[in-house]
Each structure stands twice: as structure tokens, then as C-alpha cells.
């Protein structure tokens, strides 16, 4: 499934994951999402150094949902646009 992982290692990884209790597997997915969002926010902070926390969250919404949907939900985003 993963092109950069040896099949034996991948099998072991799946075995380990399967042996986890359900709550931990769910928590893993949750944390993957949260970590991904934190990384995206860090990137936005670098691109827009003067932006407030609220503005960064608004821009993150654009990254996550796409400009059209984010505008429908939250209204227009500040200039310059997050996604060109």
C-alpha cells in the first residue's frame, strides 16, 4: 500500500495498529488531523506574519474547505487571498 515502506515493515505496522484498542485508533486519526492543521497554521503564520489568530483561522478554513465554500460559511476572507 505504501510505496516507500517495505512490505514486512508495513505488515508489522498494520499488526501493531490492529492490536490497539478502538479508542486509541480513533484518537490516532483525530491527532493526525489536529497535527495536520497545526502544520498548516504554522505555514500560514509564516506567510502572513502580521495576521491575528482569528485571521489565521479564517485562512485555514480557506485551505481546508476551499475558497468558495469557506466564503459561503464564514464570509469574505481578508486580502491578499490565501489561495491564488
Amino acid at each position: 500500500m505504501l510505496s516507500d515502506t517495505h512490505p514486512d515493515v508495513e505488515r508489522m505496522q498494520i499488526t501493531i495498529l490492529r492490536s490497539m484498542p478502538s479508542w486509541r485508533k480513533f484518537r490516532l486519526v483525530n491527532d493526525l488531523i489536529v497535527t495536520g492543521r497545526k502544520l498548516a497554521l504554522a505555514g500560514l503564520r509564516e506567510r502572513f506574519p502580521g495576521a491575528s489568530a482569528e485571521e489565521l483561522q479564517r485562512r485555514l478554513a480557506t485551505l481546508l474547505l476551499g475558497p468558495k465554500v469557506a466564503q459561503r460559511v464564514y464570509g469574505p476572507e481578508p486580502d491578499p487571498p490565501t489561495v491564488r
Binding site: 486519526v29 483525530n30 489568530a53 481546508l64 459561503r72 460559511v73
Partner: protein
């Protein structure tokens, strides 16, 4: 239900599991049958995939639409027009959690991608504990989410014996 008031996304938003909990609690309260699929469900099989949303299959009837939208509209962007279309066409719709921008996708059972037969094969997988959880529900077949915070029963596809 659109347009909604627009609470801005929060700098300290609820986490995806909490958002999912909130949605499942509403489905349970309204008696709408659902099945959790996608990355959250596949994680139970040992495939932890990165995702940006949660996927649910729902057996939602037009008569339940108002109550469904009302139950979620304070915290989510819910467009009733789009849901009506999805119900008519048997397709999908999404809602978006204002505070976290987390998206939950709903697929209508009996639509293009998910047949009633598949839905009827959903099984109770096991309980999961999420924050402040209390195990209070022990139904044998139906997915269950007892109270707004609590223990979710996760359902998944399971092929009938003999099917490959």
C-alpha cells in the same frame, strides 16, 4: 436553514472527535440510523489514514430534515436546500462545524454509492471511549451513542459469511 449566522472559526477549536460526537449524538436523539465509514472506520481495521473530514452514511427521511437541521444549525453550517437535493438524488451533502471548520460528509443510504443492503449489514463493532466517557449502552445490533458525551458504538461494513 441557510444563510446561517457566521460565528468565526475559533483559535482553540473543538477536536474532530468531539465534533463527530456532537453529530452522532444528534442523530441518535432524532432516531436517524447511521453508519460511520471512511478513515475513522477504517482505522479500526489498522489503516490510520490522514483525512480532513468524517464520513457517515445516514438513513435520513425528508420528514426528518427540519429536525435534523434544527438540531445542528447552532454549531454547523447546514444548507437545507442542498440536503433536500441530496435526498432527492440519493447523493451526499456536508455540514461544516463553525468553530473548527471540520466537515462531516453524509451519504444517503440507498443512493448511488451505498445500498440499503450494505447498510443493513452494518454491525456493532465495539465501543470506543472518547473524552469523559461513560459506558452506558449495550444494544446488540444498532449503533448507539448514549447521551451527548459518552460512548459511541462504531459500525462498519461486514461481508456476510461466504461472500468474498
Amino acid at each position: 436553514m441557510a444563510p446561517n449566522p457566521i460565528p468565526p472559526p475559533s483559535a482553540d477549536p473543538a477536536e474532530p472527535l468531539q465534533v463527530l460526537q456532537r453529530v452522532i449524538a444528534s442523530l441518535e436523539a432524532l432516531g436517524i440510523h447511521y453508519m460511520l465509514v471512511g478513515s475513522f472506520a477504517s482505522s479500526l481495521h489498522g489503516f490510520a489514514r490522514f483525512t480532513q473530514d468524517a464520513d457517515l452514511i445516514v438513513d435520513l427521511f425528508p420528514s426528518q430534515l427540519d429536525a435534523f437541521a434544527q438540531a445542528l444549525a447552532s454549531d454547523f453550517y447546514v444548507d437545507q436546500g442542498l440536503i433536500q437535493q441530496a435526498l432527492k438524488r440519493g447523493t451526499s451533502f456536508n455540514i461544516i462545524h463553525f468553530e473548527s471548520s471540520f466537515k462531516v460528509d453524509f451519504f444517503i443510504v440507498g443512493g448511488r454509492n451505498f445500498s440499503k443492503a450494505e447498510f443493513s449489514r452494518r454491525v456493532l463493532r465495539r465501543s470506543i471511549r472518547v473524552r469523559s466517557s461513560k459506558l452506558t449502552c449495550r444494544l446488540p445490533k444498532m449503533p448507539c451513542f448514549q447521551s451527548s458525551i459518552g460512548t459511541a458504538w462504531v459500525v462498519e461494513f461486514r461481508k456476510p459469511s461466504g461472500e468474498t
